[in-house]
Symmetry: C2
Subunit: 119 residues, 2 copies
Amino acid sequence: MDTGDAFDPNCPTRLVLDRIGDKWSVLVLLSLADGPMRFTELRRRVGGVTPKVLTQTLRAMEYDGLLTRKIFAEVPPRVEYTLSELGRSLHEPVAAVTRWAEQNVGRIMGSREAIDHAQ
Amino acid sequence: MDTGDAFDPNCPTRLVLDRIGDKWSVLVLLSLADGPMRFTELRRRVGGVTPKVLTQTLRAMEYDGLLTRKIFAEVPPRVEYTLSELGRSLHEPVAAVTRWAEQNVGRIMGSREAIDHAQ
DNA sequence: ATCGCCAGTATCCATAAGGTACCTATAGCA
DNA sequence: TGCTATAGGTACCTTATGGATACTGGCGAT
């Protein structure tokens, strides 16, 4: 298996990029970086996510070993999501991209406005 | 306008994250980091992208000021895509995520296999 | 005379995302 | 003895988005 070329569609690295490139995954990762959270907490924190999509995202991240899901046998039910070591190791690179976005949002919006204005 | 909270769906930072989180944008950015490229060159380099989607991606990145599009009045036509200063500044953070993916692809695939095996 | 090159469009279809409603069981309240 | 609220989802339907394939135009080469 070729792990070195992200440009090859069959490369596993590409699968990983697809997953972590997902916008909800990134927001979940950033949220959980502050500590474990429950489903509804996450739902409130990550504005705009629907429960279905949040469930899909969390299940996918669990499958990839980025977080763990702990169910407490209580009523009402309680489920806690916690970043794994692997998930925590991804936090810094992702946070760097987010910082870039925050720092450059002005330039990007400026570019869009300049182009819109030229039309 | 609130540029500080990527969790707010109306936050511009979120718009930016959505855009640069797109898998094709990342691959185009990494390709162009080596220098300007033509459309067909990019298409070959970024395996699996269809022309329609590549066009959409390039237009979106141009709109955001990440790259410039230069048309040469020749036959056959020639169009060159070049990263802007802004695009180049995004390269390092994105490359860090890609490096993480390459280094951890094994762990992720291992997690998937462990879970598949447990079923 | 026809073929191929380049940079895309146009068209159609499948998949995925999004929105809303509903389910389960129990504890608390009236 | 209902009635309601709660948490963590599922089920269902509709709407975007992505992807596959085919096609265009002008010219130089065969």
